[in-house]
């Protein structure tokens, strides 16, 4: 059967260019590609978006660079990769242009995207937005992928503010925040004041999709009538660097079920407990950090009480890409749910076309702040 599969085949080598000549150099690059002697391939320059990617350091940029080819493969874009600090010395910006090409089914049909890399040296970081402004392709959506991961994006200061002002969408990742609780508060406060139509996307929230799906379906009133209203306890275990994500999962559940936080306790690096009040009584939440493992929500259990009797459903990882829902019947095998194994670049590529505001995420973020405040006070 006909296959329509994108596979990376080539990246044109990056060539250094003057910042003022970038557009001209890009044109030259495409002309050369088209004019290769003996060429029998059709090359299409494809571009769905402007993707502005910000890395703080060269190390971070090197890691992300390979991922950009994958992003462009799924979501052809003009990629503007900004590197905030390269080396000290004279304040200047260096630029280079390159291309990614993939083939579509036939090796004779190439789809190509272009990348412009801008490296700021000697404190020239603040000049980067001015270059970006001149290089954005009009009439296309602009997304900012904020790569630094130890602090929430607003901690990036002025450059973050300037880049977000020209972006329709801001993509970041809360995994690895050094202070997740403060990070949640910072991000929620910032989100509350940003442009109303701007799309805000935390890749960690996207990764929670399967968990949310499994919980929703496990306790669906059609499957287990009355269980959602009668939840008394939720326990979640997560690997290192996944606190913010687990927090969001609790925030989502509590916000949707109308629970109100009444207090909580943090055992740093170990576990967090909250006391919530639901419409039917108290709810105890416990999230516990495992000392090793992947930065994921690893397992969970939800307990509810109907007619004085407690019931528990468990959700566990059954291996890579598989979540299992274990009910109360010991003879029933776990119900399986595939967790699509998407790497970070694939997640970014999937996020880019989502141009509608994710109100559920915003609601969860704001509720997560309320939960943080319950702990901080």
């Amino acid at each position: 059967m006909s296959q329509h599969i994108l596979q990376p085949i080539t990246s044109a080598p990056a060539r250094p260019v003057n910042v003022a000549d970038i557009d001209r150099e890009l044109l030259e690059m495409w002309k050369e590609t088209d004019a290769q002697p003996g060429k029998q391939t059709a090359i299409t320059r494809a571009c769905m978006s402007n993707l502005v990617v910000y890395s703080d350091t060269l190390d971070e940029a090197a890691k992300i660079n390979d991922e950009l080819a994958v992003v462009a493969q799924h979501h052809p874009a003009r990629v503007l990769h900004l590197i905030g600090e390269t080396y000290t010395g004279t304040a200047k910006i260096q630029a280079q242009v390159s291309a990614f090409c993939s083939f579509l089914g036939s090796p004779r049909t190439h789809v190509c995207s272009e990348q412009i890399t801008l490296m700021a040296a000697g404190g020239a970081k603040q000049r980067l937005p001015s270059v970006v402004r001149s290089l954005l392709i009009g009439d296309l959506p602009t997304a900012l992928w904020w790569v630094p991961h130890d602090m929430p994006p607003p901690a990036g200061g002025e450059i973050f503010t300037e880049l977000t002002a020209m972006s329709d969408q801001i993509i970041y990742e809360s995994q690895g925040w050094l202070e997740p609780v403060r990070g949640v508060v910072t991000m929620a406060s910032w989100a509350a004041n940003e442009k109303p139509n701007q799309v805000l996307a935390d890749l960690e929230w996207r990764r929670l999709k399967t968990w949310r799906r499994v919980i929703s379906q496990a306790l669906d009133p059609v499957v287990l009538p009355g269980a959602l209203e009668a939840i008394t306890e939720v326990r979640l275990e997560h690997g290192p660097h996944a606190l913010a994500k687990t927090w969001q999962l609790v925030g989502w559940l509590a916000a949707k079920l109308g629970w109100q936080p009444e207090g909580g306790k943090v055992a740093p690096g170990e576990q967090i407990t909250w006391r919530f009040r639901s419409g039917t009584g108290p709810v105890q939440i416990l999230i516990r950090r495992l000392h090793e493992g992947e930065p994921k929500v690893q397992s969970g259990s939800i307990t509810w009480k109907i007619g004085g009797q407690s019931h528990t459903n468990k959700i566990v990882r059954l291996g890579p890409g598989r979540l299992g829902l274990i009910g109360e019947d010991p003879n029933s095998p776990p119900r399986l749910q595939v967790v699509p194994s998407l790497g970070r670049p694939e997640l970014v590529a999937r996020q880019l076309p989502d141009l509608g505001r994710d109100d559920l995420f915003r609601e969860t973020l704001q509720f997560s702040r309320t939960m943080a405040e319950a702990l901080l006070h």
């Binding site: 059967m1 579509l104 496990a218 949707k256 095998p333 595939v338 699509p340």
Partner: protein, 512 residues
């Protein structure tokens, strides 16, 4: 409906929320299951979009056990899935596949099916929701519907309890009367809201995009009427002959096989008024309105406006191919049409006087389906003054397959000191723009059924309205008596008679 009482899923009301259910495939060991349905379910599973509480039960007469049915499914998936089989994932996936052997006329077999469902479903957390897929010949629909009802596998519609949905494949009948019979049979056991009449064409990405393109952009809709559109051409061309479907095709022919369903549905989406909501019944009301506005072609007009023909021997890609009447399982004196072309009108304000030319056939030069909207010419001033070399009119072509996308032909100035106008194409291709593999139509449609969204399925009144219109043609053909049909050479674009229909209006078929 998608989110009955679940506070955790309100955000999913506008998207697909497939609900927990068992999918029972009648004819589960047949070709449709092997080539399309099981691969589609497998791909949905790979994407992680199936309900957590989900199982599949195949029902047919073949001697399968659960294990051998899984092997059958695996073989089909390995051969026909758009993505390769992943052995790791397969180990999980196969655990949700089961098989019940039985004959469609055997009540005991249906009781056995019910027992099997009752035994399996608690373990999967499935609350008695059933989707029944009838991948069986139309003659068996009656039996299966009755048996399901008799053994209590049909729940009432509109209650908060478990749901029952039934998917019915085309053809729904072979003329208006028989379509009414099939619908009446279904209606005895099922409420209309439980019936999903599938037309896989409507699940295609580009067909859905016509809707978005028309009503999601401000620039097309103001031009989408008789004032600006000269005519519309709809082509569904097949490169293959009848192949293994000769038995069915001999009874059906191109008019029943393609025009009554796929092409009239494409026409509806092209010609419909903007619906006031995305709600399934609203959209279907507006499509039905188009069918009601189709000008009937009756009596002698049929010969004037409709051409039917059969392919004769010829070449496909340089290889000899036999004529239709020489194909296996085709009668040597068959008068079944393998090609239909016609001119028709949608009699309403928007389309007053705008002809729709449609054509479909087998053994045409290539597989290509498109809808082409040809706009009226600009006034004869400036660049359009020479009558012998008029400007090419603007054409918006919506390609459905292959190479899905759309193109707009516009006039541009050739570089140089003189003003020379040249037609150029602005081309949008799904593949190169989005770079993603589109899901198969069956994937989308199966998910829609699990979610209870009937927008892309045919409603009873629409099926009957389209048969009513088509039956006029069938009747005229029948009255004209059996005779040899015009022939076209295999590998060409159809008979001369089809050219005449459009050339008589000073227009011509598009080269695809």
């Amino acid at each position: 409906m998608p989110t009955v009482g679940n506070p955790l899923t309100p955000e999913l009301t506008d998207s697909m929320y497939p609900q927990p259910c068992t999918l029972v495939i009648f004819g589960g060991s047949g070709d449709l299951s092997r080539r399309k349905l099981l691969p589609a379910i497998y791909n949905l599973s790979l994407d992680g979009v199936l309900p957590t509480n989900f199982a599949v039960v195949g029902f047919a007469m073949n001697e399968f056990t659960d294990e051998s049915y899984r092997a059958f499914a695996r073989e089909g998936i390995e051969k026909f899935s758009r993505r390769a089989l992943d052995p790791g994932h397969w180990a999980d996936f196969e655990k949700m596949l089961y098989y019940v052997r039985g004959s469609f006329d055997d009540r005991t077999a249906f009781s056995k099916l019910r027992e099997r469902l009752e035994q399996l479903e608690p373990g999967f957390g499935i609350p008695g929701n059933h989707v029944f897929y009838l991948a069986i010949p139309p003659s068996l629909i009656d039996q299966v519907a009755n048996q399901l009802q008799a053994v209590g596998l049909v729940t009432a519609a509109g209650t908060t309890g478990p749901f029952t949905r039934i998917i019915v494949e085309k053809p729904i009948g072979r003329d208006l009367e028989s379509a009414k019979e099939v619908n009446a049979t279904l209606a005895k056991a099922f409420d209309e809201s439980q019936i999903f009449r599938i037309d896989h064409y409507l699940g295609k990405e580009t067909v859905q995009n016509i809707f978005v393109m028309r009503f999601g952009n401000a620039i097309f809709e103001p031009l989408w009427n008789y004032q600006h559109i000269d005519h519309v051409q709809i082509t569904v061309a097949e490169e293959e002959g009848v192949g293994t479907r000769a038995g069915y095709y001999e009874e059906a022919g191109a008019l029943r096989d393609m025009v009554q369903n796929h092409i009239l549905q494409l026409l509806c989406i092209t010609a419909m008024e903007p619906p006031w909501s995305n709600n399934a019944d609203v959209v279907r009301d507006y499509k039905l309105a188009v069918l009601k506005c189709l000008r009937p072609i009756t009596g002698k007009d049929v010969e004037k406006y409709v051409v039917r023909a059969q392919y004769g021997p010829g070449f496909t890609h340089g290889v000899d191919v036999p004529g239709y009447r020489r194909e296996d399982r085709v009668k040597p004196d068959s008068t079944t049409e393998t090609y239909v072309a016609m001119k028709l009108y949608v009699d309403n304000w928007r389309w007053a006087g705008v002809p729709f030319y449609i054509r479909t056939g087998k053994r045409l030069p290539k597989r290509a389906s498109e809808i082409a909207i040809q706009f009226k010419a600009v006034p004869t001033f400036l660049f359009n003054r020479r009558a012998d070399s008029p400007l090419e009119p603007n054409v918006l072509s919506l390609r459905i397959q292959p190479d899905e996308g759309m193109a707009l032909r516009i006039s541009a100035k050739l570089p140089g000191p003189k003003v020379r106008v040249f037609p150029v194409k602005m081309d949008f291709r799904y593949g190169t723009t989005f770079g993603e593999q589109s899901p198969e139509a069956y994937e989308r449609l199966l998910l829609d059924v699990m979610a209870g969204d009937a927008t892309l399925f045919m409603r009873r009144d629409a099926v009957e309205a389209s048969w009513k219109w088509v039956t006029n043609l069938l009747q005229a053909w029948r009255e004209s008596g059996s005779r040899w049909l015009p022939e076209y050479t295999a590998g060409t674009w159809g008979p001369l008679e089809a050219e005449k229909i459009i050339n008589a209006d000073g227009r011509s078929w598009r080269t695809l």
